[in-house]
């Protein structure tokens, strides 16, 4: 017998949980403005997330999927992508989206039950949130095919969760991307839990990164709580994709510190000790330790940042709460490019029986 194939999966961490470097730092990590930009957005995302959960608890928002604990992965990906690249998100990657220009108001409108939240002012070409699990990975592969057909130096990046890697669409997307050497990056956010099901019950594989092996594409595992590792490794991957070197699968190890959504109660199925441990390695702690050690940050700067975040979140919430609901015509007006006759008739019926317009 002879070995005809073998694989190994590498793990990358640049910043350790205590904020010390695990390997030589990349250039951007020496750039004070750039690092603080990431830190500020991670802090804003956390403030926004807490506010959104609170709005749901007080009946002012629908079910909300929190991103608590994912800030480094999401912001690192945002920082690594180019504006002209295409993002295919799942439904909680607010850090990436805010970096790319989506607004907090738009996020609140989506979870507040209003389609206008999907109509991003910026970036116009990104995909909307994607609730049907794993389906977005094929959209990203298709977008990458469009770039390849038109010979554009752009790439697509699809997020997917650990649970989503059990879906057939995920394997189909990996396979297509590998078979056609598409400029696409698959970013698996392994936060340990698919609602109540741990990743160990999804797969017997020891990493999700190795799912790339069967598709013939590179796969790597990173510390998803380390924004430097995320930015660096995703940066390498999107750059390779843009220059025609093909796709990549990146597994970011992080932890869902929140419930799955506000409709979930994670205390039913996971141990407090595990959550407590995850809080000790959460992403903001280590970046704050880094900027403090670099002499770039102070308690006063932190206080000012928190005040600024609160102001910006409150402004978004006010704008969201002040938005009147759409008229019933909104159900009909964008279904097709032009409205067929039977829908014109139904639109009149909807107007006749419309409930009163209102806020939240």
């Amino acid at each position: 017998m002879q070995t005809v194939a073998e694989f190994k999966i590498q793990y990358r961490q640049i910043l350790k949980p205590d904020g010390e470097a695990a390997e030589p730092l990349p250039e951007f990590a020496r750039d004070r403005a750039e690092v603080l930009r990431m830190y500020r957005l991670m802090t804003l995302v956390r403030a926004f997330d807490a506010k959104a959960v609170n709005l749901q608890r007080t009946g002012q928002l629908g079910t909300f999927a929190s991103c608590l604990g994912h800030e480094a992965t999401h912001v690192g990906v945002g920082a690594a992508m180019h504006p002209g690249d295409v993002l295919a998100p799942v439904y909680r990657e607010y850090g990436t989206q805010l970096w790319r220009g989506v607004t907090m108001t738009e996020i609140l409108m989506y979870w507040g039950g209003d389609e206008r939240g999907n109509d991003f002012a910026v970036p116009r070409h990104d995909f909307a949130w994607c609730v049907p699990i794993a389906t977005q990975t094929l959209h990203a592969a298709g977008a990458a095919m469009a770039f390849k057909v038109r010979n554009e130096p752009r790439c697509a990046l699809a997020y997917i969760g650990d649970g989503g890697t059990s879906e057939g669409a995920f394997y189909e997307a990996l396979n297509l991307a590998g078979a056609r050497a598409l400029p696409v990056v698959f970013l698996v956010v392994n936060n340990g839990w698919a609602i109540s099901v741990p990743v160990s019950a999804q797969t017997a594989a020891s990493t999700l990164a190795q799912k790339s092996v069967a598709a013939g594409i590179p796969g790597v595992q990173i510390d998803g709580n380390d924004v430097f590792a995320v930015r660096q490794v995703v940066g390498e991957a999107v750059e390779a994709a843009r220059r025609g070197a093909g796709p990549c699968l990146i597994e970011a190890l992080t932890y869902r510190l929140s419930d799955h959504t506000t409709a979930d109660d994670a205390t039913r199925y996971r141990a407090d000790a595990e959550v407590k441990l995850a809080w000790s390695v959460e992403p903001l702690l280590r970046l704050r330790a880094y900027v403090e050690k670099a002499g770039w940050w102070s308690a006063a700067a932190e206080q000012e940042l928190l005040r600024d975040c609160a102001r910006r979140v409150d402004a978004a919430v006010s704008e969201y709460l002040g938005t009147a609901k759409q008229p019933t015509d909104a159900m009909f007006d964008r279904l097709f490019a032009s409205i067929p006759k039977h829908l014109q008739e139904q639109r009149l019926v909807a107007r006749k029986y419309a409930s009163k317009p209102g806020g939240h």
């Binding site: 879906e167 609602i195 409709a263």
Partner: protein, 320 residues
């Protein structure tokens, strides 16, 4: 209603060792709506299993398990996530008995939440029963009360063929009703007359029974006596009960939350046109969801047929 569903599972698992429960989050979490709560504790993790997050997996493994002697009761977490499972349902589950001339069969129940009205996120409020009703070889059932959920779920699990069991989310916690846990099934392929009347027949199902019964109470005040039929089994349709009612009342209104185009209401209207046209004293009326995407929740109440729309449709059939 959700407790009645749990109770039916437990009864049947207790009395039939071949019954197994599978789905996403059905184990420790007891299902996202808590429909399977406590079952894993009671019957063990071999008989109550969380699956990987994959609907094609759930439906396909159900086919395999059922063909080899188990009776899977599978949960698809929301109807909007059922589509990856359709390949298995259409191409295998529904055809297994037929194409093997009865050698193999698929006694599977696929349960899934149905419809809107609870401020859920996108893709969590669909009512696409028509897609399922068009598939030969499967039954489609939709209960409208805790007692019917209990009796119809027992019947569905005991049925030797596949049953799609649609559970209206608005009803999960909408009403309290004492349900006797006696293991008694209700009949499939049969309508339930919820209320007798003489002037008009209203056929509906699932959560729309709520608005329909409210509309009927208003019509009562105006001296209109409406008969309300809960379709219950959406496929195959119990035509006899509907035709007998229309023969009595001479008028038919069909109410459903799903879109109008090629909806189950169209099938009912066609049955009455074919077999009861001369009993009709007025054109059939349909009160349905619009032929558009179920809107996100700020507009969902403008999509779901209102009491007023039902009352007005009934009044239309009464114009001389």
């Amino acid at each position: 209603m959700v407790e009645a569903i749990t109770m039916a599972h437990a009864w049947e698992m207790q009395h039939d060792p071949s019954v197994v429960v599978i789905g996403q989050d059905v184990g420790a979490n007891g299902g996202v709506f808590r429909a399977t709560v406590g079952l894993q504790e009671r019957f063990g993790s071999a008989r109550v299993q969380d699956t990987p997050l994959a609907e094609a997996t759930i439906a396909g493994m159900s086919v395999g398990m059922a063909a080899q002697g188990l009776k899977p009761v599978a949960e698809i977490q929301f109807m909007g996530f059922m589509y990856p499972a359709l390949d298995q349902i259409v191409n295998h589950m529904s055809r297994m008995r037929h194409r093997t001339r009865g050698r193999l069969s698929c006694p599977v129940v696929i349960r899934t939440p149905h419809g809107g009205g609870i401020h859920a996120p996108e893709h969590h409020s669909e009512s696409t029963e028509t897609m399922l009703c068009h598939i030969p070889g499967i039954r489609v059932v939709c209960p409208s009360s805790p007692a019917r959920a209990y009796g119809l779920l027992l019947a569905s699990i005991r049925d030797p063929d596949p049953v799609m069991f649609l559970e209206p989310v608005r009803l999960y916690r909408a009403m309290r009703q004492e349900v006797v846990d006696n293991g008694r099934a209700l009949p499939l392929d049969a309508c339930f007359v919820l209320r007798e009347g003489t002037d008009v027949t209203i056929v509906t199902w699932g959560a729309m029974t709520l608005e329909t019964l409210r509309a009927v109470a208003e019509l009562d005040k105006e001296g209109v006596s409406a008969e309300v039929i809960d379709l219950a089994t959406l496929s195959p349709i119990d035509a006899d009960t509907i035709l007998a009612s229309v023969a009595k009342t001479g008028r038919l209104v069909i109410v459903h939350e799903a879109a109008r185009n090629v909806g189950v209401g169209a099938e009912i209207a066609a049955i009455v046109a074919e077999h009861g046209l001369y009993d009709l004293q007025a054109p059939v009326q349909r009160v349905t969801g619009f032929d558009t995407i179920m809107p996100l929740f700020r507009l969902e109440q403008d999509y779901i047929p209102s009491v007023k729309r039902i009352v007005d449709a009934v009044q239309l059939t009464l114009i001389d």
